[in-house]
Amino acid sequence: MPLIELKDITKAYTLGESRRVDVLRGVSIDVEKGEFIAIMGPSGSGKSTLLNIIGCLDRPSSGIYLFEGVLVSEKSDEELASIRNGKIGFVFQSFNLIHKFSAMKNVELPLVYAGVRESQRRETAARLLEKVGLSGRAGHKPPELSGGEQQRVAIARALANNPAIILADEPTGNLDSKSGAEVMDIFLSLHRQGATVVMVTHEPRLAEMAGRIIHIRDGEVA
């Protein structure tokens, strides 16, 4: 059984009275456990929307989405929140860390919503920060960290609840090439340790490091 099965997923937005935008027009993808997939496509092709749907941040307009064999399309908002919390680790292009929190507290956040005790949260967060090479920076707030460091904090946060899949939306898009390479190394190392990774990118050089490349064009798998 694949980890994720998408069948004929569509997503349409209505803008104003009559303008309808079809962002996804029937996408079918399977993701097997342990895969490293790169999703490529020009901007506006719908690749980020697809990732948001996989990450349960957004809902498809139609189609079937099975996560670990369970139909996600019929889950309530609260159940989706619980899937995002426990099964999915999201890494964004713009890091999306909470600036008033320390790196440690940012990594702890998913654990807070999972109901983990504070002492155990600290322990897990410290271990994850060490894993991404930031144990010395645990007390720093995101504005005090470089872009590469912030993205590594974000990766540590994505790993907090030991998710079934890591979704990354142009994770190196805001980074210089050196930091980008470091971040990429982390994803590759996670993949080697057995993690399932789906990464959206428009850099062919990065995409080629993945085990499989899916091209999206005009809302369809090309």
């Binding site: 948001n52 990450g55 941040l57 957004d58 908002d77 609260e78 929140a81 619980s82 995002r84 919390n85 426990g86 999201f90 964004f92 999306n96 860390l97 909470i98 008033k100 956040l109 998913p110 807070v112 919503y113 999972a114 109901g115 504070e118 946060r157 907090a160 609840n161």
Partner: protein, 401 residues
């Protein structure tokens, strides 16, 4: 998300915006302090009146001429009613059971003079037992006696204010003063009694009621003050007096019998209503404060849109977000409530410590009430911003700059 985490998160958020939080809760602080102060003033005034009237003797019935529409109301005086006379008082004392004394009282105002000093004051005609009935003590000399009344002697007992005005605080009473056009001999000075219900009880001159009849050329009584033997007999006495006087007044009930307790309860009721109205007005500032909280919470929600998106992305449910923002508004209003309680109680205690002009009695129930009301304000005005935050679409919230 457990309660401790919710509390810490709310605390951190409020403390990191200390000035804004303080300004926001100012309305709540003022509202809570005002409610506590006004209720305490009202309660203080009620206790003060009870004590003052209690000081003026107990188990007392007062019969005033004229029928008031409602028992316990104020006597407005109408011309068609038959007046109360000395003989009415005598009859009550003689015939009604359980009556210790029935004192006829005539009150007028007149100038009292000695040498070149004078004062416009109340002249009260009484009989001997009045001083005992009203619990009045002498500071010097003697009170008016039954013999004074029987002989209509021109003698007077001065209240302290009057004595100070025309003789001075330390001078001897002397031989004579002039009241109206007649000369009276001062025979005693009252022990100070103070101000009751805004009426200076020391600003009076007592003379025998018979002399007052001559002085004011009237035998219409201001009232008849009746001392009942004990509290439980008050209703019986009231019935008996009513029966007696109606017989004498051709079956017409053209008088009103008030008991001291009724007067206290009427005053107390009026004060309670005033207190409620005033603190209701003060409570409006709690509502205004609540609107302030709602406003600042809406600002906060919009500033933190991205944070809300992030929290949702890592697994916060709508309910988690709702609870988080609701906790902040409740924490704000509770902090304001606590500060308001501190301010209100401090000012109230300060009042009662530094001045006796305003009788303040801290009503602890109002402290609790104001505090819980402020918490309720936090919930009521916090729900809308919190619900707004909870309803954000995570994708849109994450894109927010």
């Amino acid at each position: 998300m457990d309660a401790l985490e919710v509390f810490n998160s709310a605390k951190d958020s409020l403390v990191s915006n200390r000035l804004r939080s303080t300004l926001t809760v100012l309305g709540i602080i003022i509202g809570v302090a005002a409610v506590i102060l006004l209720v305490s003033l009202g309660e203080g005034a009620r206790a003060y009146i009870k004590r003052q009237l209690g000081d003026l003797g107990s188990n007392i019935l007062i019969i005033v001429p004229g029928k008031t529409a409602k028992e316990g109301g104020m006597h407005m005086g109408t011309s068609t009613v038959r007046k109360l006379r000395m003989s009415d008082a005598a009859l009550i004392e003689k015939r009604a059971r359980y009556v210790e004394h029935a004192v006829p009282i005539i009150i007028g105002t007149s100038w009292i003079k000695r040498g070149n000093k004078s004062r416009d004051t109340y002249v009260v005609g009484v009989t001997g037992p009045y001083f005992e009935v009203r619990n009045l003590k002498m500071a010097a000399g003697r009170a008016i006696s039954d013999a004074d009344v029987a002989a209509a002697r021109r003698v007077c007992v001065l209240g302290r204010t009057v004595k100070r005005a025309i003789i001075g605080p330390y001078g001897p009473l002397g031989d004579s003063v002039t009241i109206g056009n007649a000369r009276f001999r001062p025979i005693g000075e009252m022990a100070p009694k103070g101000v009751a219900l805004g009426f200076d009880i020391d600003d009076v001159v007592f003379i025998p009621v018979t002399s007052a009849v001559e002085l004011f050329d009237t035998d219409w009584l201001f009232n008849i003050t009746v001392k009942v033997t004990s509290e439980d007999k008050v209703p019986i006495v009231k019935r008996e007096i009513r029966k007696l006087l109606m017989k004498r007044h051709a079956g017409k009930e053209d008088f009103t019998i008030l008991s001291q307790d009724e007067m206290i309860s009427v005053m107390s009721r009026i004060l309670r209503i005033m207190t409620a109205v005033l603190s209701g007005i003060a409570a409006i500032s709690l509502v205004v404060g609540g609107i302030g909280i709602m406003n600042i919470m809406l600002v906060s929600v919009s500033e933190r849109t991205r944070e809300i998106g992030i929290r949702k992305a890592v697994g916060a449910t709508n309910r988690d977000i709702l609870v988080q923002f609701l906790a902040e508004s409740v924490a704000l209003s509770l902090a304001g409530g606590l500060a308001g309680v501190a301010v209100g109680v401090a000012i109230g205690l300060g009042f009662s410590y530094f001045t006796s002009a305003l009788p303040v009695k801290i009503a602890w129930w109002s402290v609790g009430l104001a505090f819980f009301f402020s918490a309720a304000v936090g919930v009521f005005f916090g729900v809308y911003p919190a619900a707004k935050a909870a309803a954000f679409d995570p994708i849109i919230a994450l894109r927010h700059e």
